[in-house]
């Protein structure tokens, strides 16, 4: 065997590592005759990966973990490109006293996904807070809804976890498996995908040039000068995705003229309920994070947000309590028209938590972190997949935080993509092939678009302060509060277990 074949043999066995694969037989000899090709191959064979995940955030790492746990994909080689050096340090979480204000609410569907990929055990070792109750009301005082996990025969409605805990749990899980991954602490500068083979010319001389050696791969160039090749490029690099930009995906969307302020606060008592109140300028949410701490997500218009961000702590705390309590409007009365008599004809349908009275959220006594503000927008990529490139997470879609769904949609994307890749490998498909990636898109796009439409609908419904509309919203609150099947359906949909709202 000549050296080129021997090298290819070596690289093939190491790189791809398919357990049931027979190395080259003696019959066939690959055609790579020119010395130029051999030199190029020597340089670049170590830089060939099956999948390049651009963006080592929560969704990108979740995809890597999911691939690491599936039997058909755990032999794949993966490059993770992220300029956040913290990725390289295995235990970068110090048990800080105060929780970080960047948190995510994970739905039960996401929790079971994390359990499947083996990362939830690491989350449970750090701070996390399950909650089983939720109360939603608005400033008009005309109605409220209380959700209880028992209404849908579940134990929890969700769990609030700091983003850095999720990230480190996924990373720990990844380090524990013997998944072949390499982390590139750099930023992506350019990407080129060689043209589709349909434009191959039938040349009578089979000369192998550089473009043919790498003809089936995407080439990625990084800021620190490295370049690598991959069969599939996954864009998991967030709302301002570079992969999406380089691959030429068009997006649809608009900016909400709203900013969100986030911070951590402390109470005098424990809090196990999630609270959300819709105010004229936007909703304010109070989410328990554990140890008497809670996380605040307050949506408001940009001018107010800069005021609130810069005002003193005491003023801010007063404003917070005002917003959560009786600011902007009255408390809803526990029963608008008598003790739910109006629904008594729906006997058996009235939910158990219908008798729960309206409660005032716990008072905020201390501010436990700095206040951060960021603008909100809705953005959706028109396509999620093209030749050798696929988008997941915020790179594909960004939504309003009002229902805590954003990252959960991203985890759903990661789960679906890894199962589609696994199915493709089972029948020997080239994982960068567009028809395979379109299967992922066909599965996730309707779900994501539906959720975005629902959230956008809520956001728009609350921007208008108009009498009849207020009553309509109040009626919706009442309906959701008292009618059990509707409440169950809403909880199922928000938990990620149901694909379409209102249809069981």
């Amino acid at each position: 065997m000549n050296r080129t074949v021997a090298r290819k043999f070596g690289s093939n066995v190491n790189r791809l590592r398919i357990p049931w694969r027979q190395p080259f037989s003696n019959d066939a000899v690959p055609i790579s005759s020119t010395s130029n090709a051999a030199n190029l191959e020597k340089e670049s064979e170590d830089l060939r990966y099956d999948i390049a995940i651009v963006g080592g955030g929560m969704v990108g790492l979740a995809l890597a973990c999911s691939l690491a746990t599936r039997p058909l994909t755990k032999h794949l080689t993966v490059a993770i490109i992220d300029s956040n050096l913290a990725l390289r340090r295995k235990h970068f979480i110090e048990k800080e006293v105060h929780p970080d204000p960047r948190v995510s609410t994970v739905t039960p569907a996401t929790i079971s996904f994390f359990k499947d990929i083996g990362a939830w055990q690491y989350v449970e070792q750090h701070r996390h807070a399950y909650f089983d109750k939720m109360q939603v009301w608005d400033y008009t005082g005309l109605g409220y809804t209380k959700y209880n996990a028992r209404d849908a025969n579940k134990e929890v409605l969700g769990c609030v976890v700091e983003n850095k805990v999720l990230l480190s749990s996924l990373l720990s899980r990844l380090q524990d498996t013997d998944f072949q991954k390499k982390i590139y602490p750099s930023r992506l500068t350019s990407m080129s995908i060689l043209p589709n083979s349909s434009s191959l010319e039938v040349d009578s001389t089979l000369s192998v040039t550089a473009s043919f050696t790498h003809g089936r791969l995407a080439k990625l160039e990084l800021e620190d000068g490295n370049s690598l090749y991959a069969k599939l490029v996954v864009g998991a690099d967030g709302g301002k995705s570079r992969v999406r930009e380089l691959a030429g995906f068009r997006t649809t969307g608009w900016n909400y003229s709203q900013n969100a302020i986030i911070c951590t606060v402390e109470h005098a008592v424990e809090n196990h309920c999630a609270w959300q109140r819709f105010l004229p300028a936007g909703p304010i949410a109070l989410l328990p994070i554990g140890d008497k701490f809670s996380n605040i997500v307050w949506t408001m218009n940009p001018k107010e947000s800069s005021e609130f961000k810069s005002m003193s702590e005491d003023d801010f705390l007063k404003a917070l309590n005002y917003a959560l309590d009786h600011g902007y409007g009255p408390h809803p009365t526990s029963s608008l028209l008598g003790n739910a008599d109006i629904f008594s004809w729906l006997k058996g349908v009235v939910s158990r938590s219908a008798n729960d009275c309206f409660e005032i959220p716990p008072k905020v006594v201390k501010l436990a972190s700095e206040r951060m503000a960021f603008p909100l927008s809705l953005r959706h990529a028109n396509d999620y997949a093209s030749n050798r490139v696929v988008l997941i997470g915020d790179a594909a879609h960004t939504v309003h935080p009002l229902a805590g769904q954003g990252v959960n949609l991203g985890f759903g994307d990661a789960s679906t993509l890894s199962s589609v890749i696994s199915e493709g490998i089972a029948v020997g498909t080239d994982i960068g092939e567009i028809l395979l990636l379109k299967k992922y898109e066909a599965d996730r796009k309707p779900t994501n678009v539906m959720m975005m439409a629902v959230l956008d609908g809520f956001q728009k419904a609350y921007t208008v302060d108009f009498g009849p509309l207020n009553i309509l919203r109040a009626a919706a609150f009442h309906g959701a509060h008292y009618i059990s099947p509707l409440k169950k359906s809403i909880i199922s949909y928000a938990s990620g277990e149901q694909r379409l709202p209102l249809l069981s």
């Binding site: 066939a28 039938v202 043919f212």
Partner: protein, 288 residues
């Protein structure tokens, strides 16, 4: 019962106007030899007097669109979309018969641009692909060389009959969507059987000759939806599952499993099913 049905079909057939000068005979009586038009001789690497079971107009048809084999959106899109489903059947039947794919010698007869050969090679088999159209083999070779896992595929511009002459044998012989383009299906099946080792496997897929397939594969696919160029298929060349089973049996291949492919227009996906009224695939083993 089924043979009676077959005989009655044969009688009916004789009265239909035909494009072909010969008609299908399912007896063992040897048929007149078909000679290849000399102008196509340069397509074949070796000159041989062995008659090919291929039809000339079919070769010309495929030559014309050879460059578009690997364009997922091009004229071969239906084949690309059907591919994972075909592979699922092949994988499950071959694995049940042989075990894991490693070391398995498979020949893809009528490989075209290599759409089937490449996934089989990625799954670990030792693949040989043959096709009568030189352009297809060139495209297949170029495309397979772009990936180290598929560059081991051996491609040859030849026919099944020529390989039989060379006494080549394979563990599994796969001929998908070929037999409907062949002039003499019975002879073709005999060649496939000769290429298979004892207790090896043969997989053949084609389109059923039924009213439904006329409506779907000819009228809908070629004229209404324009998935396939007009004239790709001729309804009279289709075989029913019973006919295919019989000619394979005559060639010592015992059909063990059969499945159909159905297309769901809402999801745009193909799936395996028991419905063999349009596209179907048969798996058989070679017996003594």
């Amino acid at each position: 019962m089924s043979s009676l049905k077959l005989l009655s079909q044969l009688r009916w057939f004789r009265f239909l106007p035909r494009n072909l000068s010969n008609f299908r005979l399912f007896s063992d009586v040897s048929e007149p030899q078909i000679n290849i038009d000399p102008k196509y001789n340069n397509m074949f690497n070796k000159a041989s007097s062995t008659p090919s079971s291929l039809k000339e107009p079919e070769l010309a048809k495929f030559s014309a669109i050879a460059d578009t084999w690997w364009d997922s959106e091009g004229p071969f899109k239906p084949l690309h979309k059907m591919n994972p489903t075909r592979l699922a059947f092949i994988r499950s039947t071959l694995c049940r018969h042989f075990g894991p794919f490693e070391g398995l010698r498979i020949i893809d007869v009528g490989c075209g641009g290599g759409i089937l050969s490449e996934p089989l090679a990625r799954m670990g088999a030792i693949v040989t692909g043959i096709d009568a159209v030189e352009k297809n083999i060139k495209i297949a070779r170029l495309h397979a060389d772009l990936d180290p896992t598929t560059s081991t595929i051996e491609y040859d511009c030849t026919t099944a009959e020529k390989l039989v002459d060379e006494q080549r044998q394979f563990d599994a012989v796969i001929a998908l969507e070929v037999i409907e383009h062949v002039a003499d299906p019975a002879q073709f099946c005999k060649s496939l059987a000769a290429l298979t080792v004892q207790d090896g496997a043969s997989v053949v897929s084609t389109i059923n000759r039924s009213m439904r397939s006329y409506a779907t594969a000819i009228v809908a696919a070629e004229y209404l939806l324009q998935w396939l160029p007009k004239g790709t298929h001729q309804w009279s060349s289709f075989l029913t599952p019973e006919e295919l089973t019989m000619i394979l049996k005559r060639a010592s291949i015992d059909v063990k499993e059969m499945a159909g492919f159905v297309y769901n227009p809402l999801t745009g996906r193909w799936s395996l099913s028991d419905d063999i009224s349009v596209n179907f695939i048969a798996f058989g083993t070679k017996e003594n």
